[in-house]
């Protein structure tokens, strides 16, 4: 849940301040120093480790508690349907991850797991127990296996360097009371995406803050440096890590908040740091250079990339959905499913233009509209404007063409008929809409959304408008 309102409870209470604050602060500061001696020594924070610790890491109770929470979070991700399950995709990501793991036996209490998270936000993060998650949104943005290896190598360093534990200890020593719900609310104040980050925040605010803002600058540099070393040692093109940072600079939506993986100044700095580092290092003797494999990367991930388009649409990231679907079509224009994904993307765009118009970038009114309205209301407000109506017409035309092309390539693609049904229903071409819905129901008698489509068909036959339209 990202609701700011829900987080408002504790914050409301904490905002109440009684009189005599100034008087009591002095007493309490002294009391805190007595009760929590560690807080008084905050300036001598933990010593930064090397990427692979030379001395064994000694676990304290605070660390084992964090580890327990991380294990529980792994289970939660699985149980809540957030982990993408597909044997081939899982095996591919694991294979790339294994290829850049440190050669030594895994350090104590680390069990390497590489998983794909069903989240359209371009992000990746590591838990201290060795679980590394790459969001489907980041997979969709990348071009080849070297880039994936670079991201995984970066995250591996956070685990081997015990950065999660160290950040947690550091935060506790500084006695910084980060309220997880507030942190999450400030990150995603107006949308439901970034669901994985909320879950991370529940485990440990320290990890949430690191995932959103990045770890300490020194630790991030260390992770980038180690990733470059590992890529070179593994025969990958280390410059591809810099390419990932360049790809992350692409903006598809009006973002209301920054996160580390999408923060321009930091990314530019990282591009030059990694590029310089990669140029100055030669591959070890006898190592076999690998060519960045775009074809294989695409073939192995195509299914999850299509799934990501659907997730982006469901999360209200309509422009991202279209951009990612277009990449799919560019790579494999003969796939009926890819054309269908793009058609669905254009249909869901509704009154939005495929790219953020220049005059909307950074405009406070646009952000305000997002914060004050539900997704349906936002769409209705846009559709009421002449520009929105023009955009909607253009998107519908594009979607109509794409559905037809998807069916030309594969006439048995039932979901294309469903998409046509929705599109024509919106365009008030009721006869065609009813026919398309009937075709879909005939072709997929066991469809999980059968009841919904039957209701839509009945409504179309009665000449009723779609439910969302009526709700406006």
């Amino acid at each position: 849940m990202t609701g700011r309102g829900a987080g408002g409870g504790p914050s409301k209470i904490s905002s109440r301040r009684g009189g005599g604050i100034v008087r009591t602060v002095g007493i309490l500061v002294a009391a805190a120093a007595l009760l929590f001696p560690a807080a008084a020594q905050q300036s001598s924070g933990p010593k930064l480790p090397s990427s692979e610790l030379k001395e064994p890491f000694v676990f304290s109770k605070v660390d084992t508690d964090l580890l327990t929470q991380a294990d529980l979070l792994d289970q939660r991700f699985g149980k809540d349907g957030l982990v993408y399950r597909d044997a081939a995709v899982e095996a591919y990501v694991d294979r790339v991850g294994q290829s850049i793991l440190p050669s030594a036996t895994p350090p104590e209490r680390i069990n390497w797991r590489f998983r794909v998270l069903r989240d359209p936000l371009a992000n990746a993060f590591a838990l201290p127990n060795g679980s590394i998650y790459v969001n489907s949104g980041l997979l969709a943005l990348m071009d080849n296996d070297s880039q994936l290896a670079g991201v995984l190598a970066h995250e591996i360093t956070h685990v081997t360097g015990r950065h999660g534990y160290l950040s947690n200890r550091s935060r506790r020593k500084k006695a910084v009371a980060i309220h997880v719900f507030q942190a999450v609310a400030s990150f995603a104040p107006d949308t439901a995406w970034g669901i994985s980050l909320l879950a991370v925040g529940i485990v440990a605010p320290a990890i949430l803050v690191c995932t959103i803002n990045g770890y300490d600058r020194e630790l991030e540099r260390q992770a980038d440096g180690y990733a470059v070393d590992k890529l070179i040692a593994g025969g990958y093109d280390a410059g591809e890590l810099a390419s990932v940072f360049r790809l992350l600079q692409k903006k598809f939506e009006i973002e209301t908040t920054k996160i580390y993986y999408n923060d321009h100044p930091k990314l530019e700095e990282r591009v030059s740091f990694v590029s310089n580092l990669a140029r100055g290092k030669a591959p070890p003797e006898g190592s076999k250079p690998r060519v960045a494999n775009t074809e294989q990367y695409f073939a192995e991930t195509e299914k999850v990339l299509r799934h990501n388009v659907q997730l982006a649409t469901e999360s209200g990231r309509h422009r991202t959905a279209v951009a990612m679907a277009q990449r799919l079509v560019d790579r494999n224009p003969k796939s009926s499913d890819n054309l269908l994904a793009l058609a669905d993307g254009y249909r869901s765009l509704g009154p939005r233009t495929p790219e953020v118009p220049e005059d909307e970038k950074g405009r406070k009114e646009v952000q305000k509209l997002k914060k004050k309205t539900t997704p349906a209301e936002e769409e209705a407000a846009l559709a009421a404007k002449p520009t929105g109506q023009a955009a909607e017409k253009a998107n519908q035309k594009k979607a109509e063409e794409l559905y037809a092309r998807a069916l030309e390539l594969d006439a048995s693609n039932a979901r294309a008929y469903r998409g046509q049904g929705f599109l024509w229903e919106k365009m008030q071409e009721t006869t065609k809409a009813a026919e398309a819905f009937r075709k879909y129901l005939e072709m997929t008698p066991e469809a999980p959304d059968r009841v919904r489509i039957e209701r839509r068909l009945a409504a179309v036959e009665k000449g009723l408008r779609p439910p969302v339209e009526r709700a406006r």
Partner: protein
């Protein structure tokens, strides 16, 4: 008085101040869709979706996760909601449906996310439910078990369990003085996706972890009284 004696008396005062506070709970912001109020729409069956309740321990050294406790409380709250609904005469499935298979799990996750997207506004402007403002769309029926029922119930909660030190700090200086939880219970029409009913249960003084049912049942029952009976 020596420094040690002064420190010890201060510590004792703080411990005393941070002692247990009696739990209190109430429901507020209860709102009903005009169609339900006018009996144009009648709720008979309710499908309980897994509750999403998150609890955090908040101490002087910041917040810490309580994942295990959060899961336990989620189940207990859902149980309390189920009992309160049954007492009011609704047909309720005993347990939330276990999503079998990846596709069913994804479908349930999508439905929960769809609610969260609307909840951003809904939890801020609960009174707009009475104006029929909120809808999740007919996509609710994409989730198989939802298609076979009248309405779907969502539970969202966030709680903060304060440590003794944090309570003492709150009492003497500023900030939260007691553990609190906010829990939103919302009924959605499984056909149209319209939000039919919502309420928020606010618990203060703790008790939401170890006495969950006791703390939630009464305010829930009171809120549900506002829904016209099915018969």
């Amino acid at each position: 008085m020596s420094f040690t004696a002064r420190a010890l008396s201060l510590l004792a005062a703080l411990m005393l101040a941070a002692g247990p506070v009696a739990a209190a709970s109430r429901s507020s912001g209860t709102q009903i869709h005009p169609k339900v109020k006018s009996k144009e729409k009648t709720i008979r069956q309710v499908l309980l979706l897994p509750a999403q309740v998150e609890i955090q321990r908040s101490g002087m050294k910041g917040g810490e996760g309580m994942l295990k406790e959060s899961e336990d409380v989620s189940l207990k709250i859902l149980d309390a909601v189920g009992k309160a609904l049954k007492d009011r005469g609704f047909q309720v499935a005993d347990k939330p449906p276990a999503a079998a298979g990846d596709e069913a799990q994804y479908s349930l996750a999508s439905l929960q996310k769809r609610y969260d997207a609307v909840a951003v506004q809904l939890h801020k402007r609960m009174k707009d439910v009475s104006k029929g403002r909120f809808t999740l769309g007919d996509e609710v029926a994409n989730y198989g078990p939802a298609a076979a029922t009248d309405s779907v119930l969502f539970v969202r909660g966030q709680g903060t369990q304060l440590t003794g030190g944090k309570k003492a700090f709150g009492i003497l200086v500023a900030g939260a003085k007691a553990s609190t939880m906010r829990c939103y219970v919302t009924l959605v029409d499984s056909k149209s996706g319209e939000v039919l009913f919502t309420t928020m249960v606010f618990v203060t003084g703790g008790g939401f972890i170890d006495r969950t049912e006791e703390v939630f049942r009464k305010p829930l029952a009171k809120a549900l009284q506002k829904i016209p009976a099915a018969t």
